[in-house]
């Protein structure tokens, strides 16, 4: 086995084996120190494995196989960096938590699953990895075990399992056209144009993956779950776990086929989500919830890009969507870590923290000369100059506004003691390193993804393009800060609160069905039905030719 294959296999398998090893008490005790190293094979794989390498791990009929293409490698690398940084951060953050052993198990499992979705090549393994990352993430968000966390956990699990049901239906329909029991994803997708259930498959896929990405109105779990988790867990949940939905769309949608209607629908949902996330985020009073709504909004942007690719049948846009998503992984991870940093900083010493956090936020909005600007420029390619492109560009102004709000909330959340004005270096170092990487790394990837020279990003016209929305957003933020109306706080999960009103109705319905149980368990009823079954079977079998 060559190095590339070994690295690809090691990326998800090493963290998984470490999670299993946590069954031993001696391993569990040092588990927090394993969190960062566990992600290193993934990073090495992203860096060292040549593109488009295919590794067959188990031969037919299993056909467990790995494949690393450009979008997969970009996401894998970005995710690995965040996993390493957040893992280092978590080792210190959780040092006094008596339940850190269990937390580490969930962490490692989520890690294994998240690497898995980026690199597996066959349908069954993808579903396995997707289920693993989705379900293990529950353990991360439920770790604090508060009433709020329990509610968030139930909502998350319910929607996740619903999504899994939709996806398995889609996968089965997609794979049933294929001669193999477990086809490769690209072979199954290649069968899609001749499938008798093309529209049903697309609908199930889009809804299933949109749930993971949090497109409105399937976003309700995200502000709940991401806000209740411990800080490093929030970072990976909002940064990485939601990308399972992105890679799902990139892998399973037939991007090479022009599907104007589906593409348009996805774009509209994406743009709506982009603005909806901003609007709701502005009403929030907790910095983590603001960030969670920002993730909703950013995933809307990614969905719009993928929708645009569908409209034009442009499969090259996959790498650009992945690039944008990877940029979001690093920035959002660093922003979440900033929440923990600020909370442990004395109010007097918080300015440098706010400065860096603000820079990260502006990069997310596309501030020129930061990595985020390159991501914004990259998506201009597939989006073109149409209405969708314009609306997306304008949404950056909203993002600026939202990030300004975030920084203000961050300032208010600083409650460290004056004796220790800054948190320990072991918390600061991973955050600062991650922030620098988030701001700088896109510069190395931009030429690779777009095929343009890096200098073009510094051209005046492009600087102008990205600077205008940011300046607009800053001006708006300043104006609102001076004399804006006080917004009422929308409860996290917004429309969910309306849906929960249906809860008692559902309970009554279930109770009604439950009464049927009492009726059916009466001897006379069951006996009469049994006699009836004899008659029904006899009549049915008589009708046979």
């Amino acid at each position: 086995m060559n190095l590339a294959a070994a690295l690809l296999i090691a990326a998800p398998v090493v963290p998984f084996l470490l999670a299993l090893a946590c069954a031993f008490k001696s391993v569990r005790r040092v588990a927090p120190l394993l969190l960062a190293p566990a992600a290193v094979p993934g990073l090495l794989a992203a860096l060292l494995v040549p593109r488009d390498v295919f590794v067959l791990v188990a031969p037919a009929p299993f056909r467990i196989s790995f494949f690393l293409d450009v979008p997969g490698a970009i996401l894998l690398g970005g995710a690995a960096l965040l996993w390493i940084a957040a893992g280092t951060y978590a080792a210190t953050y959780l040092a006094k938590d008596p339940r850190r052993g269990g937390f580490c198990v969930w962490w490692l499992l989520t890690l294994a699953g998240s690497f898995g979705v980026f690199i597996v090549a066959d349908v069954a393994s993808f579903y396995l990895a997707f289920a693993l990352v989705s379900l293990a993430a529950f353990g991360l968000s439920a770790h604090d075990d508060t009433a709020e966390a329990r509610r968030a956990g139930i909502v998350y699990l319910a929607l996740t399992l619903f999504g899994e049901a939709l996806l398995i239906a889609a996968f089965v329909m997609l794979a049933s056209g294929s001669p193999q029991a477990n086809p490769l994803i690209r072979d199954a997708v290649a069968q899609w144009p001749v499938s008798p259930w093309r529209d049903a498959i697309l609908l199930l896929l889009v809804v299933g993956f949109a749930l993971k990405m949090g497109l409105v109105p399937l976003h309700v779990w995200m502000p709940l779950a991401h806000a209740v988790a411990p800080v490093p867990a929030s970072a990976v949940l909002s940064g990485i776990v939601v990308k399972a939905g992105v890679i799902g769309l990139l892998r399973f949608l037939p991007l090479g086929v022009a599907l104007p209607h589906w593409g348009l629908a996805l774009s509209i949902a994406g743009i709506f989500t982009a603005y909806y996330g901003i609007a709701l985020g502005l009403t929030q009073k907790h910095p983590k919830r603001v960030l969670a709504y920002s993730t909703v909004s950013q995933m809307g942007v990614v969905a719009t890009v993928i929708g645009g690719a569908l409209v034009q049948g442009d499969s090259a846009a996959a790498a650009i969507a992945a690039f944008y998503a990877a940029n979001h992984i690093l920035l959002k991870g660093a922003l979440f870590l900033a929440v923990g940093i600020a909370a442990a900083t004395a109010p007097g010493a918080v300015m440098p923290v706010l400065g860096l956090a603000g820079l990260l936020g502006l990069s997310l909005a596309g501030l020129p000369f930061t990595g985020g600007a390159l991501a914004k420029l990259a998506i201009k390619g597939p989006m073109g100059e149409g209405a969708a492109g314009f609306l997306l560009a304008l949404s950056a102004a909203g993002t600026t506004l939202l990030m300004a709000k975030f920084v203000v909330l961050l300032r208010d959340s600083a409650k460290g003691r004056a004796a220790f004005p800054l948190p320990s270096q072991r918390l600061m170092a991973p955050w600062i390193v991650l922030s620098v990487l988030a701001l700088a790394l896109p510069f190395t990837l931009y030429p690779l993804v777009t095929g343009e020279r890096i200098a073009s990003a510094f051209a005046l016209v492009n600087v102008e393009k990205t600077a205008v929305p940011v300046l607009l957003g800053l001006a708006l933020a300043f104006a609102l800060h001076q004399r804006g109306p006080a917004l009422p706080e929308v409860p996290a999960g917004d429309v969910l609160v309306l849906a929960e009103r249906l809860g008692p109705l559902l309970a009554r319905g279930l109770a009604g069905v439950g009464r049927l149980d009492d009726v059916l368990r009466r001897w006379g009823v069951a006996g009469a039905l049994l006699a009836g079954l004899v008659v029904a079977l006899a009549v049915a079998v008589r009708s046979a030719p």
């Binding site: 001897w523 006379g524 006996g527 006699a531």
Partner: protein
């Protein structure tokens, strides 16, 4: 002299009637003892049917077929055992005082006690 109906037919009809009565009793009656009786009547009707089949000798082409008779004997033993088991349960149930509903369900805990690991 020819009978209005042949003997096997008469027995067959009787058996069918017993089956019907037993079935009715089994479905309608709530009392355990009555259900046990109904089961026996129903079983009796079936054994009668086996008797008719034996008389007709359908299987072997003889004047009478011994196989169904062997089955009936086995069947009677089985039905007797079933009745005995059911009656034993009914008697045990009647001898016990009814217990409060709440303490009822955790059955596992009460049989699986002791054993210090």
């Amino acid at each position: 002299m020819t009978a209005l109906v042949s003997t096997p037919t008469l027995f067959g009809l009787t058996g069918a009637a017993l089956v019907a009565i037993g079935l009715y009793g089994l479905i309608v009656h709530g009392d355990a003892l009555r259900r046990i009786l109904a089961f026996n009547i129903l079983g009796g009707g079936i054994f009668l049917l086996f008797g008719v089949i034996a008389r007709r000798g359908a299987g072997a082409g003889f004047g009478g077929d011994p196989v169904p008779q062997a089955m009936v004997i086995t069947g009677i033993v089985v039905a007797f055992s079933a009745t005995a088991l059911a009656v034993a349960l009914v008697r045990r149930l009647q001898a016990l005082p009814p217990e409060p509903e709440d303490e009822a369900a955790p059955a596992a805990a009460s049989t699986e006690h002791e054993e210090a690991a």
